[in-house]
């Protein structure tokens, strides 16, 4: 492989894996900015991926998908968002209405989602069939734009692994920024995460705002689940390999702010990709004397996050009221 090809592969794959992290971390940001700790992101991703993959398979079988591939993918994205939102309602109900411990509620949902996914996959695909394969038409190729296929840098960079989810992620990122900082809704949402009593005193419905925060995080988390599954490439196996938790780390690393989260997700994705490409990248230490050195690269983002968390713990700006159920009577 030539240098340019390696670089193109590397950058393309980094973006591909940054997309799910970005989407899910943005989702976590909305939830936490409204005051609800969303540790259930992993479970939400799984449910979103499950429902959208089943949709894709259904579209494939009916022949609709092959005829209108990107429309089919768009439908799957909508399904992912809707199913993630519905699943996140369970968290919202427990933590907002019933004032349950948000971390434990989230942990329960994280256990529920993969088990439910396995049971449902069995039920749909038959006994022992644990993988839902993603149809090949979901990828955007040169044909979609009528471009001649060629082995150039830019074509390798863009078309090697290009999915509709990447475009959607860019749109959603801009929308999330505008929604959080430039609208009345965003201001109110953030107020509920900082000082819900004060927000309530000026007539903001804290319960509604928190529900909105959790549901938005459910939508983004669900789409993130689909984005992860297309990035992983081997089909959906009732797991998102800890990306929900990784997204939580990304969110904290990004200090609960959209642009920092974008940077953090690219950073995490880059390390993940370097790990899997470490053999073919000439300038990296390849630890040839060490067996399965990919684990070293897999550990790096966590180690770096730990160091950053320790160094920035004084400056870290977590929403003040996160994790505390809103109680009107509390002083």
């Amino acid at each position: 492989m030539s240098w340019a090809n390696i670089l193109a592969d590397l950058l393309g794959a980094t973006v591909l894996f940054a997309v799910p992290l970005l989407l899910v971390a943005l989702g976590g940001m909305f939830s936490e900015r409204s005051g609800v700790i969303n540790i259930a992101l992993e479970g939400i991703m799984i449910v979103g991926a499950l429902c959208s993959c089943l949709t894709l398979v259904g579209l494939d079988k009916s022949g609709f998908g092959a005829a209108h591939p990107q429309l089919g993918m768009f439908i799957a994205i909508l399904v992912a968002a809707a199913s993630g939102a519905v699943f996140s309602l369970l968290l919202a109900f427990a933590s907002i209405n019933l004032r349950a411990d948000q971390t434990i509620g989230g942990t329960a949902l994280n256990m529920l989602a993969p088990a439910f996914a396995i049971v449902l996959t069995w039920a749909v695909q038959g006994q022992g069939q644990t993988t839902i394969l993603i149809p090949t038409w979901t990828r955007i190729t040169q044909d979609n734009f009528g471009i001649e296929k060629a082995d150039t840098f830019f074509q390798n960079l863009i078309f090697k692994s290009f999915y509709l989810t990447t475009i959607i992620a860019v749109i959603l990122f801009i929308a999330a920024y505008v929604l959080l900082y430039k609208t009345k809704f965003g201001l109110r949402l953030r107020a509920c995460g900082e000082h819900p009593q004060a927000a309530d005193s000026v007539g903001i419905n804290v319960f509604k705002m928190r529900y909105a925060g959790v549901i938005i995080s459910g939508c983004l988390g669900g789409i993130g689940g689909l984005a992860f599954t297309v990035a992983a490439g081997s089909g959906f196996q009732s797991s998102v390999a800890g990306y929900g938790f990784l997204a939580l780390a990304v969110m904290i690393f990004g200090n609960w702010k959209p642009f920092s989260i974008l940077g953090a997700s690219l950073f995490f994705a880059l390390f993940k990709i370097i790990g899997s490409y470490s053999d073919s990248i000439p300038f990296l230490p390849s630890f040839r004397s060490v067996k399965s050195s990919e684990y070293i690269y897999l550990m790096l983002p966590y180690v770096v996050t730990m160091i950053v968390l320790i160094l920035t713990s004084k400056k870290s700006r977590a929403p003040k009221a996160e994790g505390i159920p809103y109680d009107k009577g509390m002083r």
């Binding site: 509620g105 329960a108 529920l112 049971v119 050195s293 550990m299």
Partner: protein
């Protein structure tokens, strides 16, 4: 007898039983939805498979032992106001240390278990010290340490040729060597129990873990040290004010919690029937400590029963196959935790139902950790600077429950005092 129905223990048990019943009902609905003709038989095997044969019972006890340890780990942290979601990582590191001692260094089983304890303790120490010194949330740190632990263990095992099964005559390289061929002295003694129950799974680990659970009970409920740890969990500021070194106690809580999970990993893999397989996903035994702790209301004695129950329905779940995926059991467990998350609410309702008031219901689980103030003799310590390592014990817990009490609680204030205090400063 009438008193028993009013006691907090009874209400805790009842709340747990209600969660279990609700979980089982949802499980039954799933059985009906996915495969109606087998639904009744499926429910029957969940309910009875664990006791159906002696070797199944052995399997239940075999799985319950590490579950008791991870449950104790999570429950101990809950009692001291921390959420140790990192039991999985500590469990993995503990298992690794035990296996290294057993296979690489050919040491006897009890040294391996001590090594497992130390390994788990180290993996609990780091999140603890980050929490105490830098105030980094222990949930996030321990989630990351779960993955760090897993990757590190995999990396190390891959680079220790003596650890792998192919060194000991087996053909596969993706797991550690079987202890039977590598070092039989590292296998936990069976003391004839395997012959009694007719199963190779059975060894003395279940009795070891029950002993440890009783030890933890004594530490938490009968010793000043445990009282200090709990006081930090209830109200950090008040305990600092009382001269307790809160930072040290946070670290110690996490170290003990990690050590317990580490022992769990040790005893599971030293049974001689399990080999550590190199996979890229976290081990579920550590996560299952969370439902065990919640179901057992974080009480060490409750955790013993909760662990046996969870292990029991898991054995039942294996009997569900091939008609159903055994993950239906995970759904049932998840529903049970989801319901335990608002156990405070359930307990309040139950308390009202049995007593006509709610003032006496004090949640044992995590939900109310931040709530109750700790009685501090205010005048005594006011001269000392708050927060710095004073190291003076608070003295004997003033209001230790009377002998007649159920012993579930050692919160050193009677609830009447709490109410009085709260009423007083409004």
């Amino acid at each position: 007898m009438k008193n028993f129905f009013k006691s907090k223990t009874f209400i805790s048990i009842l709340a747990s039983v209600l969660s279990i019943v609700a979980g089982l009902i949802i499980g039954f609905i799933l059985l009906i939805v996915f495969n109606p003709p087998y639904a009744l038989g499926g429910l029957k095997s969940i309910a009875t498979a664990g006791f159906s044969r002696a070797d199944k019972l052995a399997k239940v006890l075999y799985q319950a032992a590490p579950l008791i340890m991870t449950g104790l780990s999570v429950g101990f942290a809950f009692k001291t106001g921390l959420f140790n979601i990192g039991a999985t990582g500590q469990y993995t590191v503990g298992a690794f240390c035990a296996l290294v001692c057993g296979i690489q260094f050919q040491l006897p089983w009890w040294v391996c278990i001590l090594a497992a304890m130390i390994g788990g303790a180290i993996w609990g120490f780091i999140p603890g010290i980050c929490k105490a010194l830098f105030n980094v949330n222990e949930v996030i740190t321990s989630i990351m340490f779960n993955w760090l632990g897993l990757f590190m263990v995999n990396l190390c095992i891959n680079n220790m040729p003596k650890m792998l099964a192919d060194f000991w005559g087996a053909s596969n390289k993706d797991r550690t060597g079987a202890l039977a061929s590598a070092n039989p002295s590292a296998i936990i003694p069976k003391a004839g129990l395997d012959k009694l129950l007719g199963s190779n799974y059975m060894n003395i680990s279940i009795f070891l873990t029950i002993g440890i659970a009783i030890l933890i009970y004594v530490i938490l409920e009968k010793m000043t040290f445990g009282y200090e740890l709990k006081a930090c969990g209830f109200n950090k500021d008040a305990s600092i004010y009382a001269g307790i070194n809160a930072k040290r106690n946070i670290v110690l809580s996490m170290v003990i919690s990690g050590a317990l999970a580490g022992i769990g990993g040790g005893i599971y893999y030293l049974s001689g029937t399990a080999q550590y397989t190199i996979v890229k996903s976290l081990l579920s035994m550590g996560f299952n400590g969370i439902p065990v702790a919640l179901l057992g209301a974080s009480s060490p004695i409750g955790i013993i029963f909760a662990a046996i129950f969870i292990s029991y329905i898991q054995v039942g779940g294996e009997a569900l196959q091939p008609e159903y995926a055994k993950e239906i059991i995970d759904i049932i467990i998840a529903v049970i935790i989801y319901l335990s998350a608002f156990s405070l609410l359930v307990k309040n309702i139950l308390g009202r139902f049995f007593k006509g008031d709610t003032s006496n219901v004090n949640d044992e689980g995590a939900a109310a950790i931040k709530a109750a103030p700790v009685a501090v003799p205010a005048g005594e310590k006011s001269g000392e600077s708050a927060g710095e390592p004073v190291g003076v014990p608070v003295g004997e817990p003033a209001g230790e429950p009377a002998p007649g009490d159920t012993g579930e609680k050692a919160v050193p204030v009677s609830d009447a005092d709490v109410n009085k205090e709260e009423g007083g400063d409004q």
